[in-house]
């Protein structure tokens, strides 16, 4: 079999960890413990940690024997995913930047050049 089977202990550990991480992300937003980019970064990191927890404890990724085809395909998917998502955001940001209206151009230049009004 490509992946391990897991035990009651691994499933329970995965479940409890996921529950804690979900509540943690929720509490961070609901009680506004952090603000701005720090808050976004914190909940994104929490989501990625929960992704890893569920991959290991529920989908048994990483417990297969060599050659680790599941892991190789997974990493390739992550690469495609990052190109797709970050590339789209980059292109669309660039497009918005180059097609902005004259009033927006003023605001951008003032902001980029650090001009104080």
């Amino acid at each position: 079999m490509g992946a391990g089977q897991g035990t009651l202990a691994t499933y329970t550990a995965g479940f409890i960890l996921s529950l804690i991480l979900t509540l943690e992300a929720y509490a961070l937003v609901a009680y506004q413990v952090l603000v701005g980019p720090a808050l976004v970064a914190a909940i994104m990191v929490t989501a990625v940690v929960q992704l890893l927890v569920q991959l290991v404890f529920f989908l048994h990724l990483g417990s297969e024997s060599k050659p680790r085809w599941n892991m190789i395909v997974f990493l390739f998917m992550v690469m495609v995913l990052l190109i797709l998502v970050l590339g789209s955001l980059w292109i669309m940001h660039n497009l918005n930047y180059h097609t902005m209206s004259p009033s927006e151009t003023d605001t951008h230049i003032i902001h980029d050049e650090g001009i104080q009004r």
Partner: protein
């Protein structure tokens, strides 16, 4: 995947690997929908933003229901490996009920939004929202149908090698849907509420 493994296990490994590749391509599908949402989420066209529309406690309850269903699905698979047929059916029925509850909550949210006049036609943001969350909901509905089919098979033919393999694949699918939901919860709802 060792050379000494009997042919049954070899078949298992092939099926599981094939299904794993399908799941990875499904990730790419969701990645394109997430990218679309990320690009369009500020294009509200004078309509409401996520902050005005989403109720976080409601979404948290959806998230926890789906997480518990992912856990009970795992318990069902463990019972299948032990060969306890009635426990398998029991755990998967619980998984089915939790999955149905999740889908019912999601449809409640959708009908509520549409009745308020905030359907997918309102703005680019809402088009992207309904496409992303709706595609996940469609996967959940497929999973629920699959659970019903598998439970009928297990009840009729018992925990055969083929049925165990199919239950393993089904549970991979169900866990995968919970992973996708983590990101919908974080990116669409939590970040939308900021």
């Amino acid at each position: 995947m060792t050379k000494q493994a009997p042919s049954v296990h070899k078949d298992d490994a092939k099926t599981l690997f094939g299904f794993w590749i399908y799941l990875m391509t499904d990730c790419i599908l969701f990645a394109s929908l997430f990218a679309t949402y990320a690009v369009l989420h500020n294009n509200t066209f004078g309509g409401p933003s996520g902050q005005e529309l989403f109720s976080l406690p409601f979404v948290l309850s959806e998230t926890i229901i789906l997480l518990v269903s992912s856990f009970t699905c795992g318990l069902g698979l463990l019972a299948a490996h032990r060969g306890e047929k009635h426990q398998v059916i029991g755990w998967f029925i619980i998984t089915f009920l939790l999955g149905s509850a999740f889908l019912a909550l999601e449809l409640t949210e959708f009908t509520h939004l549409v009745n308020e006049g905030y359907s997918w036609q309102r703005s680019g943001f809402l088009s992207a929202f309904f496409t992303l969350v709706g595609t996940h909901g469609l996967h959940i509905a497929t999973g629920l149908f699959w659970i019903v089919v598998m439970m009928i098979r297990v009840a009729k033919t018992g925990l055969t090698v083929v049925n165990k393999r199919r239950l393993t694949v089904l549970s991979l699918f169900w866990h995968f849907l919970d992973i996708v939901w983590i990101f919908i919860f974080t990116i669409v709802y939590l970040m939308g509420a900021l």
